[in-house]
């Protein structure tokens, strides 16, 4: 901070303004022994920051100067209260994985059921970082090059205008490290995808590979009734003919037809498109019905003529 700047802010107090309800750093071990998910980034910030920033940032963290901290995909937006009347705005931008890299990573994560299982209880096995590295993806899971350059990861910005990392960033990094210790999966979000979405995509991918497809519809109850179908090994005496229940089916009257019954039960579409979907579906159902009737009755006249 230059002299000129100091002179232009004569009314700034000695100590930062107090914040009520800010994020306080309360970790028992202090800044020692952060896990692998949090430690590299935190250390990298401390080593690149000036000792003054480290010291002040640390005390800011303890007094809870961090007012907000919002992690969105690839980015953290935070505000830290310093001596100025308004909190400084921080923006920490992480390098995100490209969609192709994500596809690769999700596919790799699906290969072992243990990953999906650990993720579900909020754990991130260290093997994940190694796995991502072996895929040849340039950006590692855990960011280690904080700075203000375009090539930094993450790129640190603060409205205080000071050299980066400034004390505000250092303060905020305490809180982030604590968060990453508790919620290691947050790293995925920092790399560009919400955690829930990662879990969903893993689930999606896994059902796709085990069941062959993902469906938007439920399976009918009869389909899962194992007692209905006799194993073919037990049908050697009657291998070729349909079973008795075909006769039952054919002698039972068909259910009555109610126009657009399903559509009326479905109600409005949740997809939120502007296209008038339900109206179009009604026309589609009627067109299809006409077609079905034509098919059902298709031969009755031709056949009779042949006779």
């Amino acid at each position: 901070m230059t002299q000129w700047q100091e002179q232009n802010k004569p009314r700034q107090p000695e100590n930062p303004r107090r914040v009520i309800g800010g994020f306080k750093f309360k970790r028992k071990q202090g800044i020692e022994n952060f896990p692998w998910t949090a430690d590299p980034l935190f250390r990298a910030v401390l080593t690149t920051a000036s000792s003054e920033a480290v010291e002040e940032g640390h005390s800011y963290a303890l007094t809870g100067q961090t007012v907000t901290l919002l992690a969105s995909p690839g980015k953290i937006v935070s505000s830290v209260q310093g001596r100025s009347s308004r909190p400084y705005q921080l923006e920490i931008a992480f390098v995100t994985w490209t969609p192709e890299e994500w596809d690769q990573i999700i596919a790799a994560l699906c290969s072992e059921a243990v990953f999906a299982a650990r993720f579900l209880i909020g754990e991130l096995p260290p093997a994940v970082a190694a796995l991502i590295e072996t895929l040849g993806i340039r950006t590692p899971l855990v960011p280690i090059k904080p700075g203000s350059k375009a090539t930094s990861d993450p790129i640190l910005k603060c409205t205080c205008g000071g050299a980066q990392p400034c004390k505000h960033v250092v303060s905020m990094m305490h809180i982030l490290a604590e968060r990453l210790e508790d919620e290691p999966l947050l790293l995925f979000q920092l790399r560009g995808m919400p955690v829930a979405r990662v879990l969903e995509r893993i689930h999606e991918k896994r059902t796709l590979s085990t069941r062959g497809e993902n469906q938007a519809h439920p399976i009918p109850p009869a389909a899962t009734d194992q007692a209905l179908v006799t194993p073919i090994e037990n049908l050697l005496h009657d291998f070729w003919r349909p079973g008795r229940r075909l006769h039952d089916l054919e002698s039972r009257p068909l259910p009555a037809h109610t126009p657009h019954a399903l559509l009326r039960r479905l109600g409005a579409s949740p997809l939120g498109g502007r296209f008038p979907l339900v109206g179009l579906l009604a026309t589609i159902y009627d067109t299809a019905r006409t077609r079905g009737i034509t098919l059902r009755d298709s031969d009755s006249t031709e056949n009779a003529e042949r006779e």
């Binding site: 993902n214 179908v229 009657d238 019954a261 579409s269 009779a304």
Partner: protein, 1093 residues
């Protein structure tokens, strides 16, 4: 002839063929490939002439798991051979292998993979061919199941039980798909039937685990998607989303995979997975009633309290809410009671429960309001217990909303009268006719029993419109129409009065003021054909006079005069037979044809004989023209015998044989007789001769033989001049539509319209759409002309003894007679030159041969014994080998059943009078859903019967003989007794199956050949006729006319002294007879029935 199979694999229909000719060629080739499978090329050339080009189909192959039997061939490398399918085995007449030795082995077959675009067309072609056989191929048994599945898919589309859904495929791409919605109770029940009945063959794809659902799922969604998409492409639905950018609009994105040829979802700004997830969320609405547990909302519509005169148009209806447990819907928790403040000591416990329940109620109301938005108004109330509706609204609720609410799992109670046809507008036909029918009398110019004009008789009629049970005038209708409400009270009764119904009723009444019409027109109109429009259902026909009698038919026998038994009848007619006779007399007098379709064994023959006698007792034989009786050859002997026994006074001429009269001479002879008995074959040949006579009546026995489509034979029969026509059949003719038309076209020409007309109007809706209304309409249309009593009918059962025994007198075929004569001549010549043991041996062996000849020439000639599929040469039984087959089970066999491959000609039931008759009777009783035991003394004859039954009747008979191991016997008996209709025929050897077993599932017992000891036969009969039997048991004993069988049968019947010897000593007594006695005993006696065919 080729058998066509279908399988579904990887989203495509595969067809593959099996054939007789490849079987013959390959049968000796020991190759692990399917010995019967055809090449794709052969399959194509068999199919294309019939179903059209298969250009889009590709040659492919499938690996299936098919049943194999252990191989007995020399090459040890070949452990097993593929068995033919049930259809091919039937065509081959191949006997079954022991089931326990069968295994499933991978087998590759060449297939035609059908292009997706032509799959539906091909399946529909197959469906249309189901009724019309062709010469090139026949569908495998499983095909019927595939067609049922196809029909199910089509019905889903027709019923709009189809959902647009999204799938993510294995490769990660997203596609739109139309598929059937199967999660409703109705659809699920049908799906369960389809899954449970799926043939093993349809899911025996190697590498899968034989599961039904994956195949059914893939098939149904492919077919449904194909149908819907084709319709949408044709109507250019894709255009409708053209103006919407799928990358922006999620609806357009979703629809982009559903409307056109391409099914991929265009990637929008949102991930396609979001579309999948949102679609899932939306569709789950349909399923939530099933998924969520707990109580269901119940609506109850209560009628407003009104006095009698109020028309109810302005009244207020209350629809009350309640909760029910879906598993016990009788107990209703009224919504009002939930909101009432509980008081007293138990209040606490109650209030917790009530809170839970009212929570459920609110949840259910919210769910229902998605379907019925007006419910939201009720929810504004803090304690919603019901909703008030005006008459118009309540009508809409009951008519439109109720079915949807029910489908969504809600319960809806409506007043009883709702939906009843009595509460709708309907029409009554009033027919006026005199007590006595008009007669043709002088018009025909004869006084020979002046017959009615039949279907052409004129009757007076007028129409009447009724609301509920009240008839109303045109003026009143018009007044009601002006009120414009669909629900109105008339005479204190609510009526569902749709404006469109009133319009069509008014229009119809004005154009049909009444007058006269013919009986045909009246009957057709009364049953809603050529009558009022659909909206104006005919609720009833009120007739007077003879038409009333006709319509009430035999249901109310008191309505017409009962005829007493004819004096000349030598026997006793049971009460139901008398009422049958009265019915025949009544229709005959009106000049109407009749079809007597009583169950087998109820005595159709004697009812007809009584009719012949009845008319002669009234007018005198001389004045009545002759009746022509047309029968299959196989029952001619029976007819002759029955006529002689019950009506010996009737003069019967048998028009049969090579030297039968023709031309003038025949006309002369016919006039001099009461009855001319002939066969279907002769009718065709002697058409011109028969046409020269004016017949009093033509009677067809086993009338189901005039089948559809019309043949030369049918045309010949219809061309005969006759005053009246009667058809006799034992099949449930009203359920067999092709037969029904043919038979009624004979009895009542023109009544059911042209064949084409009949198919369009009745057969197609009933068979394909399972249209109950049309079926009921047809039943009531034909009811006056068909009389069918079942052995189980209450009226009949009280008349019937528990055991009815009859003899079937069988005429030998020419081939049988020739063989019979040869054996007798040969034996008589030899016995004179021998004596002692040798002579006895000669006589006994001749006796065995004669019995075999009576059974079937193939039995005697030893055709078709024990030829294994791998080409072990068949044992030829020539004259040089003395048969030693005196009792059964003496045939030496090493293990299991032989697998018989017979030259198909040996299997012709027509070569033997007995087998021909047996097949006819079995077909009839199968049609009626009955079960039969067939006893024979000979294991080899049993094999022949099994093969013929399989070939002719296409059912799998059970077979038990001396070589059947105990465990298998038990299994056979258990399967038969299960009575599920899959194994209705049980062939047993008399010795092995005649004692001990409990086979009460059978209600027919056939003694195919005879054992001269009645006690042994009775013991066999008692397998079915014993404790646990609830039906009448019919015993049919087969006897060849003129043969040794008949001779001995008569002696036993007459209880001659000789007979007691016979019964005691088996066949030994015969050997003691002199040559003269032997000649007398064995020589075939001609009866005038043989030959000529």
């Amino acid at each position: 002839m080729l058998v066509v199979h279908a399988n579904w694999s990887d989203g495509s229909l595969h067809l593959w063929g099996e054939s007789l000719s490849s079987a013959r060629e390959n049968v000796s080739v020991e190759s692990p490939a399917h010995p019967f499978a055809t090449s794709a090329k052969d399959l194509r050339s068999a199919l294309e002439p019939i179903i059209g080009s298969l250009n889009g189909a590709k040659d492919d192959h499938l690996d299936l798991l098919l049943p194999h039997a252990p191989s007995h061939a020399g090459d040890p490398a070949v452990r097993s051979v593929t068995l033919p399918s049930s259809r091919l085995a039937g065509l081959l007449g191949q006997a079954s292998h022991d089931e326990e030795l069968r295994t499933l082995e991978p087998t590759r077959v060449s297939t035609l993979r059908i292009a997706p675009s032509s799959t539906i067309r091909l399946l529909l072609e197959m469906r249309n061919l189901e009724e019309t056989p062709n010469d090139l191929f026949v569908a495998a048994h499983s095909m019927h199941w595939w067609l049922a599945l196809t029909q199910f898919a089509i019905n889903s589309v027709i019923d709009q039980r189809v959902i647009p859904t999204v799938l993510q495929r294995r490769d990660g791409t997203y596609v739109g798909q139309w598929r059937p919605w199967l999660n409703d109770n109705d659809a699920d029940a049908q799906l369960a039937d389809l899954l449970a009945s799926m043939p093993a063959a349809a899911r025996a794809i190697d590498g899968t685990d034989g599961q039904a659902w994956p195949i059914v799922d893939s098939f149904l969604s492919t077919i449904v998607d194909g149908i819907v998409r084709a319709a949408l492409i044709e109507e250019n639905f894709e255009e409708s989303i053209e103006d919407f950018d799928p990358t922006i609009d999620s609806h357009a994105a979703w629809l982009s995979g559903l409307l056109g040829i391409k099914n991929s979802i265009k990637v929008g700004r949102r991930s396609p997975f979001d579309v999948l997830r949102d679609t899932r969320g939306w569709l789950s609405v349909l399923d939530e009633a099933r998924v969520t547990t707990g109580m269901r909302l119940r609506f109850e519509v209560s009628e407003p309290d009104l006095d009698g005169a109020d028309d109810g148009i302005d009244s207020v209806w209350h629809v009350g809410f309640g909760l029910v447990d879906p598993d016990a819907p009788e107990t209703v928790i009224d919504a009002q009671s939930l909101f009432d403040r509980p008081s007293g000591k138990r209040a606490n416990a109650n209030s917790v429960r009530n809170e839970e329940l009212s929570e459920m109620l609110l949840k259910e109301l919210a769910r229902a309001s998605r379907i019925w938005p007006e419910l939201d108004d009720a929810l504004e109330d803090e304690t919603p217990s019901g909703i008030d509706l005006n008459t118009k609204q309540v009508y809409q609720f009951m008519r439109d909303l109720r079915p949807i609410l029910l489908e969504a799992g809600f319960f809806v109670e409506v007043p009883e009268w709702w939906g009843e046809s009595a509460s709708r507008i309907n029409a009554n036909l009033l027919i006026d006719s005199p007590e006595e029918p008009p007669t043709a009398g002088d018009a025909v110019g004869g006084s020979n029993g002046s017959l009615g004009l039949g279907l052409q008789s004129l009757v007076g009629y007028r129409w009447q419109v009724a609301l509920g049970s009240q008839s109303v005038s045109i003026e009143m209708l018009e007044k009601l129409a002006q009120k414009g409400t669909p629900l109105v009270r008339v005479g204190g009764q609510w009526v569902d009065l749709r404006p469109e119904d009133i319009d069509s009723a008014l229009k119809f009444l004005k154009s049909h003021p009444g007058g006269t019409m013919t009986l045909v027109e009246a009957l057709r109109m009364a049953n809603g054909i050529d009558g009022p429009p659909e909206a104006l259902p005919v609720s009833g026909v009120q007739a007077t006079g003879w038409v009333r009698q006709l319509l009430s038919g035999n249901d109310a026998s008191e309505s017409f005069q009962m005829t007493g038994p004819p004096k000349a009848f030598r026997g006793v007619l049971r009460p139901y037979q008398l009422s049958g006779l009265s019915w025949l007399v009544f229709l005959d007098r009106l000049g109407l044809g009749a079809c007597l379709a009583d169950d087998m064994g109820l005595g159709k023959t004697i009812q007809l004989i009584a009719l012949l006698q009845h008319e002669r007792s009234k007018i005198g034989a001389a004045q009545i023209g002759p009746s022509l009786l047309v029968t299959p050859m196989s029952v001619m002997g029976n007819w002759k015998r029955e006529l002689m026994r019950f009506a010996p006074e009737l003069k019967v001429h048998i028009q049969h044989g090579l030297d039968r009269p023709a031309g003038e001479r025949f006309t002369q002879i016919a006039q001099e007789h009461d009855v001319v008995l002939t066969t279907y074959a002769i009718v065709v040949r002697d058409k011109e001769t028969l046409q020269t006579v004016q017949w009093r009546r033509v009677v067809l026995d086993e009338a189901q033989y005039i089948k559809n489509p019309p043949t030369k034979q049918t045309a010949a029969i219809r061309s005969i001049n006759t005053q009246s026509r009667i058809a006799l059949t034992g099949t449930p003719v009203e359920n067999r539509l092709a037969e029904l038309w043919s038979i009624l076209e004979f009895c009542c020409p023109g009544y059911l319209g042209t064949n084409q007309d009949f198919r369009r109007r009745f057969a197609a809706p009933i068979e394909r759409n399972r249209d109950q209304k049309t079926a009921e309409r047809l039943r009531s249309l034909v009811r006056p002309f068909i009389l069918r009593r079942l052995k189980t009918d209450l009226k009949v059962i009280s008349d019937l003894p528990p055991l009815v025994e009859s003899r079937q007198h069988i005429v030998l075929t020419d081939e049988q007679m020739r063989l019979y004569d040869e054996v007798v001549a040969d034996m008589l010549q030899k016995v004179d030159q021998t004596d002692g043991i040798r002579r006895r041996g000669l006589v006994l062996s001749a006796l065995v041969k004669l019995k075999q000849i009576c059974n079937h020439p193939a039995h005697y000639l030893g055709e078709g014994i024990a030829a294994r599929p791998n080409g072990v040469s068949s044992k030829k039984k020539g004259a040089a080998i003395e048969p030693v087959e005196i009792t059964e089970d003496s045939e030496s066999e090493t293990s299991g059943d032989p697998s018989l491959i017979l030259p198909p000609s040996s299997l012709l039931p027509a070569r033997s009078g007995k087998t021909q008759r047996l097949m006819e009777m079995l077909e009839e009783l199968l049609a009626a859903g009955d079960c039969a035991l067939i006893f024979t003394q000979y294991r080899q004859m049993g094999h022949l019967l099994v093969a013929m039954i399989r070939q002719v009747l296409d059912v799998e008979p059970l077979f038990l003989h001396g070589g059947t191991p105990q465990a298998k016997r038990d299994a056979l008996v258990e399967r038969f007794q299960k009575g599920d209709g899959t194994t209705p025929i049980f062939v047993l050897s008399l010795k092995a199956g005649g004692v001990g077993l409990n086979l009460t599932a059978a209600n027919h017992v056939f003694h195919f050949d005879r054992w001269w000891n009645p006690a042994v036969e009775n013991q066999a009969t008692d397998r079915a006729f014993r404790i646990g039997q609830t039906r009448t048991v019919n015993v049919h004993k087969y006897v060849c006319t003129g043969s040794i069988e008949e001779r001995i049968d008569q002696m036993i019947e007459q209880k001659t002294e000789l007979a007691t010897n016979i019964i005691g000593a088996g066949d030994a007594w015969l050997t003691e007879l002199s040559t003269g006695q032997l000649r007398d005993m064995l020589t075939l006696r001609r009866s005038g029935l043989e030959g000529g065919e």
